[in-house]
C-alpha cells in the first residue's frame, strides 16, 4: 500500500509540475497564476499522500496550512498593488 500511495503522490506532483509549462508559455499572467494555483492543490494532494504513506500525522497540519494560504499569491496577483478591489465597479476608486 505504501508503494501505491507514494507512486500516486509522485504522479500527482509530476502532473501538476508539468502544468507549470504554462508559467513559461503564458500567454497572459492570469494563465501563469492558474498554473501556480494548480500546483498548490496538487502539492496539497501529494503531501497528504506522502504523509499517509510515511505514517507521519504532522503532514496533515502542513497540508492544512498550505490549504489556508494557497490562495494568497493569487489574491495578491489580482490586487496588483492597486487600491481598487477587483470586484468593485470600474469607477469606484
Amino acid at each position: 500500500m505504501t508503494e501505491f500511495l507514494l507512486a500516486a503522490s509522485g504522479f500527482v506532483l509530476a502532473m501538476v509540475s508539468l502544468g507549470l509549462i504554462r508559467v513559461l508559455r503564458g500567454p497572459g499572467n492570469a494563465d501563469r497564476m492558474m498554473a501556480a494555483q494548480l500546483l498548490g492543490t496538487g502539492g496539497i494532494a501529494g503531501l497528504l499522500l506522502l504523509g499517509t504513506a510515511a505514517g507521519a500525522g504532522a503532514t496533515a497540519d502542513v497540508a492544512l496550512t498550505l490549504a489556508l494560504l494557497a490562495t494568497f499569491a493569487a489574491i495578491a496577483f489580482v490586487k496588483k498593488g492597486s487600491s481598487r478591489s477587483p470586484d468593485a465597479p470600474q469607477s469606484g476608486t
Binding site: 502532473m15 502544468g19 494548480l38 494532494a45 499522500l49 492544512l64 490549504a67 493569487a74 489574491i75
Partner: protein, 97 residues
C-alpha cells in the same frame, strides 16, 4: 476488511489522480484562458476531493478525519473564490492581466 479498505483507497485515489491528469492536460491544451480556468477547477474540486476520500479510512482517528475534510473544504472555498477573481480580472483587463 483491510483488503476492502485497500481496494477503496486504490480506487478513490486513482480516480483523484486521473482528475489531476485531466486538469493538467486541460491547462496545457485548452485554447483560451477561461476554458483553462474551467479545467483547473476540476483538479481542485474532484481531484483533491477523491484523494481525500481515499485517505479517510487511513486517517489517524477522528481528528485526522476532521483535518482531511477541512483541507478539502478550505481548498474548495479558496479555489472557488480565486477562480472568480481571476475570471473577473481577465474579463476586465484581458488575459494579460
Amino acid at each position: 476488511m483491510s483488503a476492502a479498505v485497500d481496494l477503496f483507497t486504490i480506487v478513490a485515489v486513482s480516480a483523484g489522480v486521473f482528475f489531476f491528469l485531466a486538469g493538467t492536460v486541460g491547462l496545457l491544451r485548452f485554447p483560451d484562458t477561461l476554458t483553462r480556468l474551467h479545467a483547473l477547477t476540476k483538479a481542485d474540486n474532484l481531484g483533491l476531493g477523491l484523494v481525500v476520500l481515499g485517505l479517510l479510512p487511513r486517517a489517524a482517528g477522528p481528528v485526522g478525519v476532521l483535518k482531511l475534510v477541512c483541507v478539502w473544504l478550505l481548498v474548495l472555498l479558496g479555489s472557488a473564490a480565486v477562480s472568480q477573481l481571476i475570471a473577473r480580472a481577465v474579463r476586465n483587463e484581458g488575459p494579460g492581466a
